[in-house]
Amino acid sequence: MPASGDLADVEFPVARGCPFSTPAEYEQIREHSPITKVRLTNGGDAWWIAGHELGRAVLADRRFSSDRRRDNFPFVSTDPETRKQLQDQPTSMLGMDGAEHAQARRALMGEFTVRRMAGLRPRIQQIVDQHIDEMLSSEQRSADLVEALSLPVPSLVICELLGVPYADHDFFQAHSGPLVRHNTPPEVRARIQRELNTYLGALIDRKVTDPTDDLLGRQIAKQRAAGTFDRTSLVSMAFLLLIAGHETTANMISLGVVGLLQNPDQLAMIKEDPEKTPPAVEELLRYFTIADTVTARVATEDVQLGGTTINAGDGVVISGLAADHDPTVFTDPDRIDLERGARHHVAFGFGPHQCIGQTLARMELQIVFDTLFRRIPTLRLAAPLDDIPFKSDAFVYGAEKLPVAW
């Protein structure tokens, strides 16, 4: 199908514009059709779903598989390391379908209830405060926010969640940071991943002999009581939580801060009234939709979508960013408007795989934005926006560095 003259030459991914507007190609596609065949830089092609309603429908449709090992699974990002990481990991719930997925998800769901997450709030507040204390104690009144706040906070929160003892926090942080940083050489990344897996295995062994009341401790107890203790799958689950929860949250912290600083009228609203922070977090999640193409699938049978037939085996990319900038659902979508009511965004996906960590992520972002702008009200960018290195080809969008001053 000729996807409009200009589009025939476009390969995906395409970079976000100046610096975070939706790529012009997304608009071209949307105007062409909410469902279009596109070419991927990695090779092959995939259906590109650009509308909010259609996107949600496909993500909720069980005829599409999340199994990353299937032929044609569309990996849009050109970052081969992340792709390999996702393909090589023992299948985690992220890549499971149907009953198998439901079983894995249900085993973990109780760890992420709204009530349980609320219990973590005081500890998260403390972690955030400690890092802001450190920023404020520096003489130079400037910092790279990515290193000072965005990366360490979610890493320590995952420590808290999993039950990584205090004495191991430095080890854990030193190992999770390089997995997220863009410029980590592949061999270092592979070594670090091995060391982390070894560490997580040993941590689980310790918790077997010395039970603890935390996510890993409770999973171990539950599995042992049911006679289904499986060390390998617990290690890979812990690793998945780290991979899925660290970089995503870190990137949203950095981008959210940029988004708010660039929109002083919006920032003033949350400074004045902390009740505005939760809707602001939703709007920032929508606006940036950092995991744009993580939501990809493969059709397991022929499916009619609108007037188009998707054949069994075809790859489908449900572009979260396109869905969340669908002007029929979000008026003037390229504007940050924290009062628009954005909760129906798909930044956390939709359907059975919708982010299990969303309540935690929301809380982290709320605490960070509230605390940061309350304690450092004069915070500003210390570099022109155009000089900030954004990760435009990465699996999840973010900033590699964020110079700030106060």
Partner: protein
């Protein structure tokens, strides 16, 4: 108006509880629990929103005779 929750498909993302904790709660295993099946006034409005937001299709609304 009545809410029904299909606990077999709930994926425990907690969107409903976040929308209105006076109508929705979660069991310890993460699965949705209805505090009331018949929310009224603003709670009814929020319950409608929760049904829209629920990612798994676990929630549905049934209009009943006598609903205005």
């Amino acid at each position: 108006m009545r809410i029904e929750a299909n606990t077999d498909v709930c994926i425990g993302a907690g969107q409903c509880v976040l929308t209105d904790p006076t109508v929705f709660d979660q069991h310890d295993d993460g699965i949705v629990m209805l505090i009331t099946k018949h929310p009224e006034g603003e709670a009814a409005q929020r319950a409608r929103e929760a049904v829209e937001l629920c990612p798994s299709g676990a929630l549905s609304l049934i209009e009943e005779p006598g609903d205005s």
